[in-house]
Subunit: 349 residues, 2 copies
DNA sequence: TCGGCCAGTGAAACCGATTACACTAGTCTA
DNA sequence: TAGACTAGTGTAATCGGTTTCACTGGCCGA
């Protein structure tokens, strides 16, 4: 007998408010084993005799036992949660990405915490994310945002940057190969109309994708020996409204009328299309239009929009895979995946 | 002296792999106080002398101290994380909702974990969500899904059900008042065309919103004494393609041609619009169309779609507010909010 | 001057898991 | 048949916080 004075009535469960959830010691008691054995049944069953394990499993079932993730996390320092930072969830662009990422994460046994932060150069999302919690972070950074990238670096957890221009020590990256798709789109246009009448209506000036797409436009036109190229490149925002305003303005007041428009994304293209229809400019007969993204609005427009497909689902899936891989083995070299874009010709060009 | 044999060199930090994060005892040491005092500075500063608190805060800053959420959660049983279950994130419908929910959650100091589960009658999302972790759950359940609702009930945490038909003991609910908007929309149509030529192209048969919208259609037509109403109600899915197929079929083969279509949502309406344009049926001259949701595609279409606005952002915001309120005080009676819908007339009707 | 009270603080128990280490009993080898 | 080894299990330390309780010293009123 180890002690004479100390024979408590076998310490029983605290009555934590009215939590009825059972804990590991309940299971241990019921199965007639120690908590260590219960833990082993869960985490390394090969160490436990079959008969014992069976008894423990039954006890877990009967008590509907679920391990407390706080206690577990306190030891293992992992939660099975990945953080995802996106500029916004509004459009389908990020929705499609999130959908695929969530599916892949679930497959790998992870959950996604989301945070959006539209403002460039704000790291609020990263700040408010409960980072001590997360096993990894995936951030879509299509704008220069040093604050965000830096604060992700500070987290020193597995991270995947999508679309970011900045390199980050030890971090996986995914980039969108805008150039190939954009080049194909612009070539497609200049083969059908005079290069001097081709216009580019781009997205935000500082957006990396915008920059790539505009540059591809310029390159193809230079290649064709077009002149006054810069005058035919406009930046605005990724919205229907911007495309609409631009087209209304340009189609009515310009002297050299556009015969082809390469839009920075599908929304812009749809705006241009609407303005053209309103002005009685037939598409594709008098105005050819190509969008970018392959979004649902592009499929919904009529004439159906020619567009450059961005494989959003693939990006989401790949991001999670990279992140999970890096969590499993932090020593492997960070990789840089470039996802292709592909011109899909429909009726608007 | 309490013990003779036991004078360790003041126990120092374990070298947890290479985690450089500082813990509460580091802060305590640096500030020359106990861990209890540090904890008090964080959680109930009024108990600590100003000078002491100031010293502790400086120490926290200098060490860039962040409380370990596992340890904290182990005691307080709360994480500041809400789970959100949606059928999918694909369309902008749920995206808009999520966007607003995230913003509101962040404002209230919470984060969102997301899970999507498109399959009706599957509770996988709820199962795979790390529920021991969550302070609350918000679920959008537009389809009958007893499994999901039941498993949310089993969680016994604060929950908000959106759009669900089932009641759940002690659970807040939000419903969309489809009827008022739908009624207004159908009245709007029958005032402009013969009630006998009005058709409804609905979404999935089992979707609660679909059911409400279809029923409102029937009610208005009955009110007008229309006949053969059931023949003019079709169910399909919430997609452009379904609307397109329906219209192609109906506009070409039916004898009594539709002059007005009330669509189950904007996607369907856009599909109808595209088919009509392709068949040379002018909208709104020969065919009036009203959609539902007030989505971005509706604004992008031309003619601009008349539609019934669903305040998705409001729903997201309200869901988080209800959930947070319920977490703060679980004893308050669950409430049931009904959000209105509003007809917005544009150019398609 | 004494007792009571209060503000401020620390020591230590506790939350519920994981896991290093110790131990037992059986099997195998020499 | 002793010794080495192994499979299976339990004890107790540990993770990093929160919180109860006990304690100290200063101030107050009687």
């Amino acid at each position: 007998m180890r002690s004479v004075y100390n024979t408590p009535v076998k310490k029983k469960r605290r009555s934590t408010r009215f939590s009825t959830a059972s804990v590991i010691s309940d299971v241990a008691d019921r199965a007639g084993v120690s908590t260590a054995t219960v833990s082993r049944v869960i985490n390394s069953p090969e160490l436990v005799a079959d008969a014992t394990a069976e008894r423990v499993r039954r006890a877990m079932d009967e008590l509907d036992y679920r391990p407390n993730l706080f206690a577990k996390g306190l030891i293992t320092r992992s939660t099975g949660v990945l953080g995802v930072i996106l500029p916004d969830f509004h459009g389908e662009f990020y929705g499609a990405l999130l959908q695929a990422a969530d599916a892949e994460a679930r497959r790998a046994g992870y959950n996604l915490i989301v945070a959006s932060d539209a403002r460039p150069d704000s790291a609020d999302a990263a700040q408010s994310l409960p980072v001590h919690f997360l096993d990894g972070v995936i951030a879509f950074v299509p704008f220069p945002n040093d604050a965000l990238v830096r604060s992700i670096g500070d987290l020193s957890i597995s991270a995947v940057l999508i679309d970011a221009q900045q390199e980050l020590e030890g971090t996986d990256r995914i980039s969108i190969d805008n150039t190939s798709g954009a080049t194909a789109a612009v070539r497609h246009l200049v083969e059908r109309t005079d290069a001097d009448d081709c216009f580019h209506v781009g997205g935000p000036e500082t957006n990396y994708d915008s920059i790539d797409r505009a540059e591809a436009f310029r390159a193809v036109l230079r290649e064709r020996g077009a002149s006054g190229i810069d005058d035919r490149v406009a930046s605005g925002e990724f919205s229907i409204d911007w495309g609409y305003r631009w087209a209304l303005d340009t189609l009515t007041t310009r002297t050299g009328r556009p015969t082809a428009v390469f839009a920075g994304n599908d929304d812009i293209a749809v705006g241009v299309l609407n303005a053209a229809r309103q002005l009685g400019v037939a598409c594709p007969d008098r105005l050819r239009i190509v969008g970018f993204d392959g979004s649902r609005v592009s499929a919904a427009s009529s004439p159906k929009l020619s567009t450059v497909q961005v494989p959003l689902a693939e990006i989401g899936t790949k991001a999670v895979q990279m992140c999970v891989r890096h969590i499993a083995d932090p020593t492997i070299n960070p990789s840089h995946a470039v996802v292709p874009t592909r011109l899909a010709v429909h009726d608007s060009s």
